[in-house]
Amino acid sequence: MNDAFVLLLAAFTGYEIISRVPALLHTPLMSGTNFIHGIILVGSLLVFSTARGTVAEVLAWIGIVLASANVVGGFVTTERMLALFRSTRRRDASGA
């Protein structure tokens, strides 16, 4: 039951940390959070390590494949998007 309190606090945290995001970063940020829920891989590995019975084992194994794709793909996609901003950003103020 303690976990429910953790969830509650995390919900407020998530809402607060991105209060002001420029439209420029909407897509990279969405992609970045897409990477973060790839943490489900930890759950998939955990469930696979204790799975009993063939059906459970096969399902859990497929889960690992999907979750791994989520983590790796989410990271690469986000990194590629954000890498594009690096070379051209020189300063914050927009002079003429």
Partner: protein, 457 residues
């Protein structure tokens, strides 16, 4: 739980949250993804080392699964063009949702399956994960342009509500028959995926970014609730943070289009009746030489890129044209609509890739007041985001959406692939306006020819 695993979870949570925070600031964004990446490594390695001991064949199989899923995703996401990035987000989000649902199904097919509150959490995660899996699949297909006509019928929202009630009923059934309900569990999973597909089917392409963002948040919630079922704090925190921030982000995106989330989901956009009005007026074409002169001798030019620029991969040619015009002392700026392209920020990413200086880029609020003093507005493959009907025609499905007021410029040139309507299938009076001239062709080819023509002036 082992103390080492808890410690790695704690460190990872701090890094992941810090990473998201950094990714919401332009200057720190790139650092943010690496911070989050380190957090992910810590939690995965920590749980592998301190978690339940796994050896032999099982460990090998787990390693194989990670290598397979990770390898394919690595290959695919490295290989695709920047223009296909939105599809990639939809794809990996759907897979995450599928994984979240599979964890629950796995647990329910084992002896000693969960009961009570833990079972309730599991069923929630299963339904939400399944929804996200199905919906992301539809979003993926729609973004790839393989499904352009939204599926709509009467009482659609009612049918979806009914489906949701059936899912709820099946869920209660599984809770009550906690001894034997594996067939009900499968039914629940199938129905949830189906509802995800059905809910996304009627939503028009222009709204897809908002929908993907919503499904992204849903996957986060599914992961968080999975964490409740498994009693794993890292999953709870990371999943819930994604869920909550994702819902806020979804609302920000919807607001950029002057629409509420409810309108996107339930008041389906661009209904056939409204777009049925045929395009009135005639379209005037301008030949390339005239267009080149018009641009080269203008004082102030605003360039409005859209999805057509992305599909034609024309961003480098555009950068070349920009450089050429600036050498001739033409004031060039880019006016970027918040939802130009298929995703918010899509155009900024493309222009950055082509090396267009960041300070030449204007957003909607900066650009619009200037249009009456602009000599030439050059629209490249954009349509709905420059439709003046959104301002003037209450019957237009776009009515109320903020658009770039290119029709107020002294002259508008539009590079357009064909004579069709935009992604949302809505007629655009800009194209037949008195001061608008069209240049038909692939954006890359037309821009290349313009560059050549201006060089030879």
């Amino acid at each position: 739980m082992h103390e080492g695993a808890l410690l790695s979870d704690l460190v990872a949570c701090a890094l992941l949250i810090g990473g998201v925070k950094a990714m919401s600031h332009p200057r720190l964004a790139r650092r943010g993804i690496f911070i989050a990446g380190v957090g992910m490594l810590v939690v995965i390695v920590g749980n592998a080392v301190f978690g339940p001991a796994v050896t032999g064949l099982r460990a090998g199989l787990a390693f194989l699964a990670v290598a397979l899923g990770g390898g394919l995703a690595w290959y695919e996401s490295r290989r695709v063009a920047m223009t296909a990035m939105p599809q990639m987000v939809a794809l990996f989000n759907g897979l995450g949702g599928g994984a979240a649902a599979l964890i629950v199904v796995t647990r329910l097919f084992e002896p000693g399956r969960p009961t009570g509150l833990v079972l309730l959490f599991g069923l929630l995660a299963l339904a939400i994960g399944g929804l996200s899996f199905g919906g992301s699949g539809v979003a993926l297909v729609k973004l790839a342009g393989r499904w352009s006509k939204p599926l709509r019928f009467r009482f659609q929202n009612g049918v979806h509500a009914l489906l949701a009630f059936v899912i709820l009923g099946v869920g209660v059934g599984v809770l009550l028959h906690s001894g034997h309900g594996s067939r009900l569990v499968v039914l629940l999973a199938v129905l949830s995926v189906f509802l995800g597909v059905a809910a996304a089917a009627p939503i028009g392409g222009a709204d897809m970014p908002v929908v993907i963002s919503l499904y992204n948040a849903l996957t986060g919630i599914a992961v968080g609730v999975d964490g409740l079922m498994l009693g794993n704090p890292a999953l709870i925190v990371a999943g819930t943070v994604v869920g909550a921030s994702g819902i806020l982000l979804t609302r920000l995106m919807a607001r950029a289009m002057n629409r509420s989330l409810g309108q996107v989901l339930f008041a389906h956009f661009g209904d056939a009746a409204a777009s049925g009005e045929a395009g009135s007026g005639t379209y005037k074409e301008m030949d390339l030489a005239d267009a080149a002169v018009t641009l080269a001798y203008a004082r102030r030019v605003r360039i409005v890129p859209g999805y057509g620029l992305a599909t034609a991969q024309a961003q480098h040619k555009l950068a070349e044209l920009t450089e050429l015009l600036r050498q001739r002392n033409v004031e060039v700026r880019f006016a970027i609509h918040p939802v130009a392209g298929r995703m918010p920020g899509h155009m900024n990413v493309l222009l950055a890739e082509a090396g267009v200086p960041y300070d030449l880029v204007q957003d909607l609020e900066e650009a619009n007041p200037e249009f009456p003093q602009i000599d030439v507005a050059l629209v490249i493959g954009a349509n709905d985001v420059v439709n003046p009907g959104a301002r003037t025609n209450p019957a237009s499905p776009l009515y109320g959406m903020p658009v770039l007021d290119v029709d107020r410029a002294r002259r508008t040139l539009v590079i357009k692939r064909g004579r069709g309507t935009g992604f949302a299938g809505i007629d655009n009076p800009l194209f037949s306006a008195e001061l608008t001239y069209l240049l038909y062709g692939d954006a890359k080819a037309v821009l290349g020819q313009l560059v050549g023509a201006i060089k030879s002036l």
